[in-house]
Amino acid sequence: MARLTARGAWARRAALYDWLEGSDLRRASAKKRLFGRARGKTLLVGAGTGLDFRHLAAGSDVTAMDISDAMLTRARARAAASPARVRLVAADALRLPFADGVFETVITSCTMCSVPDPLRAFTEIRRVLGRSGRLLMFEHVRSTQPVLAATLEVMTWWSRRSGTEMNRETVMSASAAGFRIARIESVFLDIILAVEALPTNDMFDRHEDGATGSGWHADDPRGAPPTCAGAA
């Protein structure tokens, strides 16, 4: 259901996406710096219309996935023009169709404002990331400044209708899913951040014990993971 809703919302937004949200004049240098840190086989979650492809390292091997076919259709030309080797895949970030630990880098770019359950998405990302992998996030998040936070809250009343939450505590969700935050760069105040995170090792340890790859399971001593609402 969530998948259908997300698909519908993003199919409607695809046509105007580049015009309304596609400019990254201001963000390009921070993106290039962040994505330049990708190593090895890379997964780009929530590729959209492929605006980020031009910031990928030349010759790198990138699987770019998105839930929306309409977005991916628009991304095709940019994939062909990208300096990286980009393969497009239609998939849901909440159920990544990849084996455990196959990627060395995962990139998200304004993705976690859009997935219905960021914690689950991060847990999936962590599953497909290798032990020494890295997560590179270019995300907009809730501000710590009360007036800005309240403004983002108000904006979410209507942005939510088209599939975007402006008030998510994405860095916290990543930590809750088992990532250690290695670096944060402020791109715009504390609202747009470039973040590098590394997987902590406990999930892999439990994984080797035969636990599920989700990072969380029913008898987890830390209790239930924060819900999406709690993380948002």
Partner: protein
């Protein structure tokens, strides 16, 4: 508010853009409130109409410049600027009674300048907070 590590020229250009946007939005919001108080009967109704029209005008302005200045980078400050520009005029009218169009314009521009300065200060604070860990590309 301008992004880090962009070239000096781009940084100045974005700062000038942010400044111009916030001053414009402040003026629009202030004028909308002034006009609403002239044409809409009742203080509550005129305040609500003035605020709505001012914020609407601000958001349209932000929409026009977002391809250059960025979507979130324009929408968030504009929301705040649209609100305080109108509120400032209401407050001054409450104290001073009727005010001229030129004075309203000045109030709007001043709210834009104040908001810009506050965001700049917060930007510096954010950089200090996060910059202990700069990228080493």
């Amino acid at each position: 508010m301008a992004p880090q590590r962009v070239s000096g020229m781009s940084r100045v250009a974005f700062l000038v853009g942010d400044f111009a946007l916030l001053v414009t939005v402040g003026i629009e919001a202030a004028l909308a409130m002034h006009i609403a108080h002239d044409v809409v009967p009742g203080i509550l109704a005129s305040t609500i109409v003035g605020m709505a029209v001012g914020m609407g005008a601000g958001l349209l302005t932000a929409l026009a410049v977002r391809p250059v200045l960025g979507s979130i980078e324009t929408a968030v400050p504009t929301m705040i600027g649209g609100m305080i520009g109108g509120l400032a005029v209401c407050l001054v009218m409450l104290v001073a009674g009727r005010i001229s169009g030129m004075f309203t314009l000045g109030i709007g521009a001043a709210t834009g300048v104040v908001l810009f300065s506050m965001l700049m200060a917060f930007d510096r604070e954010c950089r200090r907070r996060f910059d202990q860990d700069r990228w080493h590309a």
